[in-house]
């Protein structure tokens, strides 16, 4: 909303509230980064409204760990997270029950369903982070999708300020602002280790932004 259209007393009241409760009134600024509490994601300094591609080419490369960590993220104002589960692969018993209260789970059976669901959530703009999990699909199936699909998601995210993390089995989203590649680093003994320790030990490599699009305010 254009603040110029607001009455002066409303603007003054907002400023007063922001000064009293700075944590509760995070204002979206140009280039503001999404803070998730997950080191490898935060290191990218992903701007809000951008698309991030997270690639897990091999089985058990840590996609599930990263998803679970993003679902447990904490922010100043409690925010909801939407997960568009492209392959209906999410196991709710694998994440702490308390983090489920702030999750919108969309269970899909087909890629097209998942894309439509993500499209709707990005248009809506009520939920600030959308996780689109397509990692269990074969890369060749996803490559059949026209690239305009990803461009449309990127543009919708820019307009609504919703950040999107897309989990894929290979690098295929050319318009992603950033790409995080997960390298296989997990072993059978890891199932007895602490979750936080496992997330921090994930081996990742980052590719910088390929697309520098217009950033919506």
């Amino acid at each position: 909303m254009n603040t110029l259209l607001l009455p002066a007393n409303v603007i003054a009241f907002r400023e007063l509230l922001q000064s009293k409760f700075p944590g509760a009134h995070p204002t979206r600024k140009e280039g503001e980064a999404l803070i998730t509490g997950v080191a490898c994601v935060d290191a990218v300094r992903l701007p809000r409204g951008a698309v991030m591609e997270i690639v897990g080419e091999k089985a058990s490369s840590g996609v599930g760990l990263l998803l679970a960590a993003l679902l447990q993220r904490e922010s100043a104002v409690a925010e909801y997270t939407a997960m568009v589960d492209g392959c209906d692969a999410f196991d709710p018993w694998s994440v702490p029950a308390l983090s489920l209260d702030r999750l919108l789970w969309v269970r899909c059976q087909q890629v097209t369903q998942a894309i439509k669901a993500a499209d709707l959530l990005l248009r809506d703009g009520n939920i600030s982070l959308v996780l689109l999990d397509l990692q269990l699909y074969a890369a060749r199936d996803l490559l059949r999708l026209p690239s305009s699909v990803w461009h449309r998601l990127r543009m919708l995210g820019e307009q609504s300020g919703v950040t999107t993390c897309i989990f894929t089995p290979g690098p295929l989203i050319s318009c992603a602002a950033s790409r995080l590649v997960l390298e296989p680093s997990l072993a059978a003994d890891d199932q007895y280790r602490d979750r936080e320790e496992l997330v921090s030990a994930l081996r990742t490599s980052t590719e910088g932004a390929r697309y520098h699009g217009r950033r919506a305010g």
Binding site: A59, V77, P92, L104, Y192, R195
Partner: protein, 498 residues
């Protein structure tokens, strides 16, 4: 101060609405009766022209016709009487919220809390008469300090009577027929035997004597005849309804005309909500089809509102995905009304910018991925695989899992990524341990395995009992797979770890 509004010859007025031309009489008999029954039907009420021709209530139809060959017979109509009574109640409710529907064609209003009536009763009564005249009803209005006395005053009004000096005005009540007190027919017969025909006749009898002979009813009638006692009104409290039903004259086969009709009803229902300062928390839409089937949908409004456009959008979205085998014959629309919330619930909790828009998006999502596939997850207290339920996003139920189970679910280790449905897998065992596995998608030699873990549940119920033997195996590609053997010996791959 009480006012009584009386519609004289109520049943007659209800049918004719002032439109009867020529002498007419109202019969309490159905038209389909036999000719003899019609001849012997009793005349209930007559209009002034018939009365001038000496036709009186109580005559049979044949006697009345003998007095006047051109007499027009009318028959009672319950629907018309109901409609006329509604008009009367509406008129009363426009004046005060404290009114009584005493009998058909009679209402008593408690005006004690209304300022400006005392001293201006005639003008007030005229306004009531004019309002009812617009609905073609003739009314008489009586004012008095007691409700029952006001009723008697209304019966003698022409068309307005104010009875404040009771002793002075009581004399005029004496000529009223005894029927205005509405005695039971047995009591009326006794009075007839005594020769008591008017209210004045009854007043002349001693109260103790009437009570002794006719009991409680006699005492009450005597009290009524002498001006009544102070009593409380049986107030009409209309239940505000937020429901409309419509059966279509012509069946509807597509969405647009249905939406057009619903839009119209929405406006009226929202007006009703606005009149009572309430908002809609849910909308129930019910479609009736020609083949007798029904489609019922309850739509929860995320942020209760009475905004017509917003509610219309929610209903539109919900109906978009509906398909049916037969055209729509009728529709029912109902709102669940609540009092609007006075304040924001929690300062740091509300993070949905537009809950109603989000609810609409959820409806769209449900249309795309199917019902029950969108929402929040609720864990169920079981170790069975996929022990959870997906509930609506705006249902604020707390998890049904006990606290201990929640604590246990603060997970460590690697999360499982499920394969749904779990594919049946061929597992090759060496020394009773998996050495390789193969299914439609994965085929791996096992380099390491961990297990088995035995889990079971519902053992007390033979039909529900389950048991699994779980193995975590490492494939030659480095992936970690979860295999399970069921009690029937069948292997499945439940998912991947990490």
């Amino acid at each position: 101060m009480f006012a009584a509004i009386h519609l004289p010859c109520f049943q007659f007025q209800a049918i004719t609405l002032g439109g009867a031309a020529g002498p007419a009489a109202l019969l309490d008999e159905v038209v389909t009766g036999t000719p003899l029954a019609r001849e012997q039907a009793c005349v209930l009420q007559v209009n002034a022209q018939a009365e001038r021709l000496l036709v009186h209530p109580g005559m049979t139809a044949s006697m009345a016709r003998a007095r006047c060959a051109t007499l027009q017979f009318l028959y009672r109509d319950a629907g018309a009487e109901l409609a006329a009574q509604e008009v009367l109640l509406q008129c009363s409710s426009n004046r005060t919220p404290f009114y009584e529907s005493t009998s058909p064609g009679l209402c008593v209003l408690d005006l004690s809390s209304l300022p400006g009536v005392k001293g201006a009763e005639l003008a007030y009564g005229r306004a009531i008469c004019e309002e009812l005249a617009r609905s073609k009803l003739t009314a008489r209005v009586g004012f008095a300090r007691r409700a029952d006395l006001a009723i008697l005053a209304a019966h003698t009004a022409a068309p307005i009577r104010v009875m404040l000096g009771e002793e002075v005005d009581r004399a005029c009540l004496g000529a009223l027929p005894l029927e205005v007190l509405q005695p039971a027919w047995q009591t009326a017969e006794v009075f007839a035997l005594w020769g008591v025909k008017t209210v004045g006749d009854l007043c002349k009898l001693p109260r103790a004597g009437v009570t002794e002979r006719l009991g409680r009813e006699g005492m009450l009638l005597w009290d009524l005849a002498t001006g009544g006692r102070d009593r409380l009104l049986k107030l009409v409290r209309p239940v505000p309804g937020y429901r409309v039903e419509e059966d279509f004259e012509h069946s509807i086969e597509c969405l647009e005309p249905l939406l057009f009709i619903l839009r119209r009803h929405l406006q009226s229902l929202c007006d009703r909500l606005g009149a009572t300062w309430r908002v809609a928390a849910a909308a129930v839409v019910e479609l009736h089809f020609e083949d007798g089937s029904r489609h019922l949908r309850e739509l929860r409004i995320a942020e209760p509102t009475r905004d017509v456009e917003l509610l219309f959008r929610v209903i539109h979205t919900a109906l978009e995905g509906v398909s049916a085998a037969a055209p729509i014959r009728g529709v029912v629309l109902e709102f669940r009304a609540v009092t609007p919330a006075g304040s924001q619930s929690l300062l740091f909790e509300r993070t949905l910018k537009d809950p109603n828009r989000f609810a609409e998006t959820l409806a769209h999502l449900e249309a795309v991925v199917g019902s029950g596939n969108v929402g929040r997850v609720r864990l169920l207290p079981s170790r069975r695989l996929d022990a959870f339920a997906v509930t609506g996003f705006f249902e604020n139920e707390k998890s049904t899992v006990p606290l201990r189970a929640l604590e246990e679910s603060t997970c460590s280790g690697l999360p499982l990524r499920r394969l749904r449905p779990a594919p049946v897998t061929q597992v090759f065992l060496v020394d009773r341990k998996p050495a390789a596995f193969r299914n439609a998608r994965y085929s791996q030699a096992v380099t390491a395995c961990d297990g088995p873990w035995l889990v079971s549940g519902d053992w007390w119920d033979v039909t529900q009992a389950w048991r699994r033997e779980i193995w975590i195996v490492t494939g030659e590609d480095g992936g970690l797979y979860q295999l399970a053997r069921h009690r029937n010996g069948e292997w499945v791959m439940e998912g991947l770890l990490g």
